[in-house]
């Protein structure tokens, strides 16, 4: 039984710089990086040393607490550097790519007659396992757990979000293969959620329940979809997989070859020609953006403007990124800016005029537009969070380390990205997402 879900709360932030449906190939990056920080909660244990030769698919490090989960090199080359931070924490493993990529070898898998454990083993061996994440806590899934269902969001409602159907164009069969493989891993259903009115191939996915979701962002967030379709209760585990990752899993199964190439959307007001780009997981960001952005002080974001990660000029594309956004930095002060009409600024509140111009697209910068304050306004978070969760009270429970209350108020149901709009809208500029992450960490430790 497919479901129709109407999301009423939330907001679409319209920005300049949406990608047109055209794909270009990025130049082959000379260096790549795998960042353990992409996999929250994973403590990496290195399997190789600096200078070691790797092929695409060669395991580089594994999760210390679950050694079956291995993180592999996306390309063939040589481990150039292991970048460490405070307390020698590993931040990045940089790989110098071979100019001529060594062809990866492998034979196709036939999963049709396979058991769950065998499919898990294939993905674990292929280094694709980290694509599967689990709720609660939004961390890499544990292969020994049986999820009650698996969710795949078939659309991205975030600002400038990629068109997933276009992103996967030509890989329809891979996507279906991936869904088939995922279906093996749960006794429940695989849910594929599309935006209402979607008639792309995603809405015709077989071996899964296709649900249609309507409404503003964060309707495309898988956490919101889970909340409305198969809510997580205490003790439940739900897995989530990004749509492009499903196709990558499908491709691995049908070829048996390690291939971490992916398509991303290059968007944002500071990109000269926003288009889709064929590149690789972990590719150096300069190979994607150099020469394609305006001059000036820009911020490169791996992901969207609400949840993405700030990347430096010499940074690398994250493991899960489907898009790169480039927006201007906002390091300018504005004379009595708090009272100026500011037609160029966007606000979800009606205290600026943006609400009178619903169609206008904005070129927003990274200015904080104010200063951090204690909670004063109420109701702002509730207006943009389509969940039966009291966000401010949940945050306060986290801030006061009240575990019982966190559990009662729904810590299992949320991920930082689901509350990103709350953070955006906040008058007091509270760092909602990092607090939610803290809460999830506490809950994971104390409640398991």
């Amino acid at each position: 039984m497919s479901k129709n879900v109407k999301i009423r709360k939330g907001a679409n932030i319209k920005l300049v710089g949406e990608a047109v449906e055209k794909t270009v190939d990025s130049q082959m990056p000379s260096s790549f990086s795998i960042k353990p920080t992409d996999f929250h909660g994973t403590v990496p244990k290195m399997l190789l040393k600096e200078g070691a030769e790797v092929k695409a698919g060669t395991p580089i490090f594994q999760d210390k607490s679950n050694e079956r989960i291995k993180y592999v090199s996306p390309v063939s080359g040589e481990i150039a550097e292991i970048v460490r931070g405070a307390k020698r924490r590993i931040l990045e493993v940089r790989i110098l790519a071979d100019k001529e990529q060594k062809p990866s070898e492998g034979t196709p898998f036939d999963t049709s007659g396979m058991e769950r454990a065998q499919v898990c083993d294939i993905l674990l061996a292929g280094g694709l396992w980290p694509f599967i994440k689990r709720r609660p806590y939004d961390v890499v899934a544990d292969p020994t757990e049986a999820p009650k269902s698996i969710f795949v969001s078939g659309f991205d409602s975030a600002p400038l979000g990629a068109n997933i159907a276009y992103l996967l164009e030509g890989r329809e069969a891979d996507f279906q293969k991936g869904i088939d493989a995922l279906a093996k891993m749960t006794a429940g259903k695989v849910h594929v959620n599309v935006s209402s009115g979607d008639s792309s191939f995603i809405s015709k996915t077989k071996n899964a329940q296709v649900n249609s979701i309507s409404g503003p962002h964060p309707a495309g967030n898988v956490g919101i979809q889970i909340h409305h379709i198969d809510t997580i209760n205490k003790g439940d585990v739900v897995w989530t997989v990004d749509a492009q990752a499903v196709a990558m899993i499908g491709r691995y199964i049908s070829t048996g070859k390690a291939d971490f190439s992916r398509k991303i959307a290059l968007v944002g007001s500071e990109v000269n020609d926003p288009v889709y780009v064929n590149t690789w997981t972990g590719a150096s960001i300069s190979s994607i953006v150099s020469g394609k952005t305006t001059d000036g002080d820009n911020r490169i974001i791996g992901g969207n403007v609400l949840t993405g990660e700030q990347l430096l000029q010499d940074g690398y594309l994250g493991y899960y990124s489907n898009m790169v956004t480039v927006i201007p930095e906002g390091k300018e002060s504005q004379f009595v800016g708090w009272i100026q009409p500011n037609f160029h600024k966007f606000s979800l509140s009606h205290s600026y005029f943006s609400w009178l111009m619903p169609g206008k697209k904005y070129r927003l910068n990274t200015n904080l537009n104010g200063e951090g304050r204690a909670f004063v306004m109420s109701g702002q978070y509730e207006d943009v969070l389509p969940m039966d969760v009291y966000p401010v009270h949940l945050l306060k429970a986290i801030m006061t380390n009240d575990i019982e209350k966190m559990e009662g108020l729904g810590i299992y149901e949320v991920a930082p990205e689901d509350l990103a709009l709350c953070e955006y809208a906040c008058t007091s500029k509270t760092e909602v997402q990092s607090w939610i992450r803290k809460g999830l960490d506490i809950a994971m430790e104390e409640l398991g």
Binding site: E329, F346, L368
Partner: protein
Amino acid sequence: MKIIKNLFDSLRPSFEEGGKFERYYTAFEAMETFAFVPDHVTHNGTHIKDAIDLKRTMFLVVIATIPALLFGMWNTGHQHFLALGQFADLGDGMMEKFIFGAIKVLPIVVVSYAVGLGVEFGMAVYKRHSVEEGFLVSGMLIPLIMPVEVPLWMVAVATIFAVVIGKEVFGGTGMNILNPALTARAFLFFAYPTKMSGNSVWVNTTEGTPVDGYTGETLLAQSINSSSSYIDQAGTAYSSVNDTIYAAFMGWIPGSIGETSTFAILIGAAILLITGIGSWRIMLSFLLGGLAMSLLFNLWDVNEFMRVDPILQICMGGFMFGMVFMATDPVSAAQTNMGKWIYGFLAGFLGIMIRVFNPAYPEGVMMGILFMNVMAPLIDHYVIEANIKRRTKRAALAA
């Protein structure tokens, strides 16, 4: 602009760590961020942020109070001249009335802001937190709910009490339990009742002899004895109840400075509702609560005050001002949407109840709101508990 910017830039080193006035950094920062929205950028979390901040929020509330303030100035003069038998017609002596009122009202506003901001800056420097914007609104609301004859030193004392006891001891803006402006009024009301109520505080008559029949009574005070016949400050009787309602709605009646004109307050309400800064849930439920109580009293019908027409009841006294500017204070009100409905309804309901049951407090709305300020966390607690129970139940069902 460049000059101001350079001025701040040149002053900054002496306020920063190691500087001569390091201790006063928060005061400097407050001045600087008041002049310029700072160049701070996002670091983690969302890379873009909504354009709204607390300064704009608070300033929009101040703008919303301006119609009530301007009308209050004119009305102060109007009541004064009316009592003395001059410019009896509404349209007469507009400028004289306004200037007279301004001379009376502005010092109260200045004292409220100067003392309040002084305490805020002092506290910020002492406690090393940044100066928060809450007082921008409180500083305006305090004068608007004072009788025009209140001595300035009382305004100062009340403001200090409101900022220190009402707010700072709880941790500053965002942490207070009671509405600071109402705390100031309640403090004066109980400490100096003769200066906050009665018949001699609402209208200035010190510079002349009042006309025959002048009583200085507000409509509320008159309601104790009669719900059908009212007189104005010139001793002239209103021709009908509808006439009285009209006067109360437009606001040319005696009362605290900013609360008399329902019309001016509704302009402010429109600003708050359109900008989304005031909660429509609280305003609407507050109104419904007040009307419901008034109607119940009409049915009960034991004394004159209970017979007062519900519309007149809500146009008189501080009901509308309390609804639009006091009950909606997001910090001291309930914070859940469900809680707002309950909070607003009960505040309006109790406001009218106290007003009618206890004529010794001629205005019960203040007490109603303060009482619900105290109760708001309890209301929220039960709303939140219901959410927790719903979740537990769902988990039990699924298991």
